[in-house]
């Protein structure tokens, strides 16, 4: 793996990548297969980045599986997380931990 690689895309058809380390706003996100895009905001390690424009109500695909439904349109390069994704099952709105 080259030193440039800071993101993993688990399947070619996924619409999100996962940050392997913290990626700064405007930094290039690169995966091992040479996919590259500019991070539209800071993507912390373990968080998801949109690989393409995702419309509101679309499924978030990670490792071929739908891991949620978008609640807002997410432009390519932006953070995909609880502020723009909801569960297809149980929603936890409250924060139990802190």
């Amino acid at each position: 793996m080259s030193a440039m690689v800071n993101m993993i895309v688990l399947d070619g058809d996924d619409n999100v990548g996962i940050a392997l380390r913290d990626i700064a706003a405007n930094e290039q996100a690169c995966d091992a297969r040479g996919l590259q895009l500019t991070a539209g905001e800071r993507i912390v390690q373990g968080h998801k980045i949109a690989l393409r424009d995702i419309a509101a109500g679309e499924r978030v695909i990670r490792f071929t599986m739908a891991v949620g439904i978008t609640t807002a349109a997410i432009p390519r390069g932006r953070l995909v997380h609880v502020h723009n994704v909801k569960s297809q099952y149980l929603n936890n709105d409250e924060d139990h931990y802190e």
């Binding site: 793996m1 030193a3 690689v5 993993i8 688990l10 996962i18 940050a19 392997l20 380390r21 912390v44 390690q45 373990g46 968080h47 998801k48 978030v60 990670r62 490792f63 599986m65 739908a66 891991v67 949620g68 995909v80 997380h81 609880v82 994704v85 909801k86 569960s87 297809q88 099952y89 149980l90 936890n92 409250e94 924060d95 139990h96 931990y97 802190e98």
Partner: protein, 406 residues
Amino acid sequence: MNRASSQTVSGMRGFPRADGRKGIRNFVVVAYLVECAHHVARQIAQGYQTEGAQLIGFPGCYPSDYAQRVMEAMCTHPNVGAVLLVSLGCEEFRRGALLDMVAASGREAKLLVIQESGGTRATIAEGRQWLDAALVRAKAAETIPIAISDLVIGTKCGGSDGLSGITINPAVGRAFDRLGDAGGTLMFEETCELIGCQEHMAKRATTPELGRELRAAVEKADRYYNELGHGSFGGGNIKHGLSTLEEKSLGAYAKSGSRPIAGLIKPGTRPPKSGLYLMDTVNDGPVRYGIPNINDTQTITEMVASGCHMIIFTTGAGSVVGQAVAPVIKGVSNSRVYQRLAEDIDVNGGTIADGTETIDDVAERIVAAVVRLASGHPSKSEELGHQEFALSYKTYEPAGPACLPV
């Protein structure tokens, strides 16, 4: 079983038990049978814990078939060589049945009833005297070489993060594949953390009927948690990058590896043969006791009750958990937490994200850690004296015939 499965592994040794199982430890268990006896039991075990005495117990006063079954399984666990039961005297736990069962299993067993033994001081003195002698005998017990096929191994995660499903969990899955191929018996659990994976899991079942049971078990968890109003997903997961319960599930599911699923078991049920099993950890019937898995420790306890010799525990945020009867190996998903908790973590899977190791490399280190543990070397949590144990009320109905295909 194939020929490779019965091959002993150099260094791995076990304590043979009358039922044919082999333990990787020879613990002497001190078990309180109601919370009112907890203090006395703890005082008996204290000071002997580095010698191999382990404290377990059930706090409830009213009878519970589930708790009785788990305590019976714990006291006749292959890692246990002798048992001291500590009862107050008026609780409804069926202590006589437990004592008889332990004695019938060929283990040394003793019952102390505080109300009949002269109270706190006298019971502690009598207990320690018995324990002193039992530990000497436990240490002198003979061991025999064992194989991977003699081992039952469970996996569990706690405090998952966005990297868990990419690094340490797939590495555990790969290690599970290898251990299963060598004839090992393996289990994964927590159907509430598999919500979203049921269709994929059903396809891995060895029979279509079992596939339906696996799907039904996850749907039961979904119903239960919807009724409860919240599930196994919260702020800790969100902070570390997971957005939904099903995303967490996907990561947790990776621990199960890729081999066929041979059965669905409930806490305390032992897998009838080698292979990979799912444990259903959610109560049967209506929501009755609140959250079924009150903490990671209880779920681990349930897998140990189903015969696990050891547990492979993975975390993203960090965990220091151990277990009283079965040693825990802990793996972490990222190097940042590994560096912070290195004294507590056995395997760093963060090297996969760092790009310095592959999933196979980490899987190999996990298998090596399993062999080390089964060779008598302590895990990190054992070195630190961890011996967590938790047991509360639950209800289960017997599993149907489709759950364990012949």
